[in-house]
């Protein structure tokens, strides 16, 4: 099973390595990891997507809770949350494939954000699944560079309002 962990941690040096080290030491998977400061500058939010057995998911939460730099953990499944990922793709293009690229981008909802004579940069922010779809569609075309943020997620409003 896949599970998303939204982990609030103390915004101190070394915390990222402590948390990722825990995953490495106990052989937990990290499918995606995204970190950023929250509205409180002393607190960072780590969004970790992991997959494995139900028992492993339970252990991840318990072991994270033992870390003294971890303030709070929410864990949920994909359907219980809004997930987003940002991707930047640099493509080599020429006359013959330029139209195809633009069609794919229009279909997928991606935007061209920069262009030179031989390369252009495409941006998309959507669910991780859609982002992967765009990447798959463009994979037949010459991709020069790719950067992705990893998954960001927050639990759906209706589930957190009571």
């Amino acid at each position: 099973m896949k599970r998303i962990f939204s982990v609030l941690v103390e915004n101190r040096s070394g915390v990222l390595s402590k948390v990722s080290g825990l995953f490495a030491r106990r052989s937990f998977n990290i499918d995606s990891l995204a970190v950023g400061e929250t509205n409180d500058p002393d607190v960072s939010c780590m969004t970790i997507v992991s997959s494995g057995s139900k028992q492993t998911m339970e252990q991840i939460e318990k072991q994270l809770n033992k870390k003294l730099d971890v303030i709070k953990i929410k864990s949920f499944e994909n359907w219980q949350s809004i997930t987003r990922e940002l991707i930047l793709i640099k493509l080599r293009y020429n006359k013959s494939n330029r139209e195809e690229i633009l069609t794919i981008c229009t279909l997928a909802g991606a935007r061209v954000v920069d262009a030179g004579k031989r390369t252009m940069m495409v941006e998309m922010c959507d669910t991780p699944e859609k982002v992967q779809m765009l990447l798959d569609l463009l994979s037949g075309i010459s991709i020069a560079e790719v950067a992705r943020t990893g998954t960001l997620a927050l639990q759906r409003c209706v589930d957190t309002e009571h």
């Binding site: 070394g14 028992q55 339970e58 252990q59 318990k62 072991q63 809770n65």
Partner: protein, 544 residues
């Protein structure tokens, strides 16, 4: 007052009386400041042993053990000791010197990223950046080490931070960590469910681990067992919860445990697991073994519950607090006498193992030794065959049994015995090692002498690494390699070199008298016990 003075003052305020360590330039300011306090400093001969000695002290005193070492190699040498304490949840505060703050990361002389290197073996670690943080950090560190699931906490202090003047020493009245609030009392609803499970069961057992000793719950667990006549088995770390010859005690369970204990687990319908984690050596396949029975798991660490086996009824909290509450309940049990009587019968069966004629029989020796020891003596076993012989044959009364259970660190016994003795000099302390483990720690004979300690030291000599040799015997078709210890030393000369008494036992004749002599008088004694290199610990767990 500078940072180092603040460290010394913090240790005084925490009630620390003894610290173990090894100096170096990066920690010199702290040792200098300690001279102004009443704190006794013990110079060990190798850093890992500072942590082992602090561990031995912590396990007897119930308070955090403290060790202080220098940066770089001093700190990295300490790691094995820290990891050993972590595996057995022993409360330690380990202080290391570090290079100057602005040199960190420059690969300068004797620099090691110790907080990074030790991360997976510590409960928490600090790199002190401001001297004024020292009081808060030390207050927190002692709190973290000695509450919840105990464990080592590391404080790394750059040498310039130790030398920085601080204007005001602010000692926090209490510790308030928003991310650390261990559960102490057990949930009353869960306790009610335990009562119900006990009222409806027919074959209950209590299965106790090292956690019982760590929170001083042993007397309460015993009282509970006696009140309801529930049979008790223990893990290696739980030895001593019950006197060995107590009618309700069925011995140590597990791979190296005895028949009655394993049968008790196998045939039971309710298992109350207390402060144990169903480690791989204690229960081969916990999931399978515990199927079709109710597992009640009492542990202070919620992550242990359900980690190695699915649990039916978890209670998170301090075992002492939980048993205080459970003893207030009036439980109407079914008649479980047939169950405990049946186990008792198995427990009393005579062992069928053959006693070797040419060498000393380790089983006979351990039994004789432990019966001759003071009632409240501390028996410290090392790691290897000597440990299994000890576990299986030691006769516990009101004393303590210490060993490195989780990590299995060879060389633990002698330094841990030093710490145990320093925690309570009135108690008899016996260190039992094999010749392999002893040679990993024998430099500490000097520490023992320097501190004027009276230890009784047993070395089982089979001129081999017995446990590995036994593995090669059974699993690798007797292809022996890397197990011969033929380079000496001559233990009589070694004892002489350190100026301590030497004795030797070569066979089982007159063993009681010799053991009496070994334990009598004053001053440390090194006792060499020659044992059969072909001796095996399989089925070591006979009866008592």
């Amino acid at each position: 007052m500078n940072g180092a003075d603040a460290v010394a003052k913090c240790l005084e305020l925490e009630g620390v009386k003894t610290v173990y360590g090894y100096p170096g330039v990066a920690i010199c300011p702290v040792y200098d400041s300690l001279m102004e306090t009443g704190i006794h400093t013990v110079l060990v001969r190798s850093e890992a042993n500072a942590a082992h000695a602090a561990s031995g002290m912590a396990r007897i005193s119930g308070e955090a053990g403290v060790c202080i070492c220098t940066s770089g190699p001093g700190a990295t040498n300490l790691i094995t000791g820290i990891a050993t304490a972590y595996a057995d949840s022993i409360p330690l505060v380990c202080i290391t010197g570090q290079v100057k703050l602005d040199l960190i990361g420059g690969d300068v002389f004797q620099e090691a990223d110790i907080t990074g290197a030790a991360e997976s073996f510590v409960k928490y670690s600090y790199l002190v950046r401001k001297a004024s943080d020292i009081p808060r950090i030390f207050r927190e560190a002692f709190h973290i080490a000695t509450t919840g699931r105990r464990g080592p906490v590391l404080i790394d202090i750059p040498v310039d931070v130790q030398n920085t003047e601080i204007r005001k020493f602010e000692w926090p009245e209490e510790v308030n960590l928003r991310t650390y609030k261990p559960t102490f009392r057990g949930n009353p609803m869960q306790i009610r469910k335990v009562v119900h499970a006990l009222e409806t069961c027919e074959r209950p057992i209590l299965y106790t681990g090292g956690g019982v000793h760590l929170c001083k719950a042993a007397p309460l667990v015993r009282e509970f067992a006696e009140k309801y006549r529930i049979p008790v088995v223990s893990t290696m770390m739980g030895i001593g919860t019950m006197p060995s010859r107590h009618e309700l005690y069925m011995g140590m369970a597990g791979n190296n445990g005895n028949l009655a204990a394993n049968k008790a687990i196998h045939d039971s319908d309710v298992v109350i697991l207390v402060g144990a984690r169903l480690a791989d050596r204690a229960v081969n396949d916990p999931q399978k073994m515990l199927a079709h029975k109710t597992l009640i798991h009492i542990d202070v660490d919620p992550a242990e519950i359900g980690k190695n086996a699915a649990c039916d009824l978890p209670i998170v909290g301090d075992a002492r607090a939980i048993f205080e509450d459970m003893l207030k309940e009036e439980i109407t049990m079914k008649d479980i006498t047939p169950w405990s009587m049946a186990l008792r019968e198995i427990r009393q069966k005579k062992s069928r193992r053959v006693v070797p004629e040419r060498f000393t029989d380790p089983a006979v020796f351990v039994k004789t030794l432990s019966l001759a020891m003071d009632e409240n003596a501390v028996y410290v076993a090392d790691v290897g065959q000597n440990q299994i012989w000890s576990c299986a044959n030691v006769v516990m009364r009101e004393g303590r049994f210490l060993t490195s259970g989780g990590m299995g660190t060879m060389g633990y016994a002698l330094p841990a015995a030093i710490g145990a003795k320093m925690a309570d000099r009135s108690r008899q302390v016996v260190s039992v090692s094999g010749d392999g483990g002893f040679q990993m720690a024998m430099m500490e004979l000097a520490t023992m002498n320097q501190e004027d300690l009276d230890l009784r030291i047993v070395v089982f000599n089979n001129a081999a690494l017995g446990m590995v040799r036994e593995f090669q015997m059974f699993s690798l078709n007797r292809r022996y390699t890397m197990v011969d210890l033929n380079g000496g030393p001559d233990y009589e000369k070694l004892a002489d070199a350190y100026g301590i008494r030497y004795m030797r036992i070569d066979d089982n004749e007159g063993i009681e008298k010799k053991v009496q002599e070994f334990l009598s008088g004053t001053g440390s004694v090194l006792l060499e016990v020659t044992v059969d290199p072909d001796g095996v610990v399989r089925k070591a767990g006979g009866s008592k």
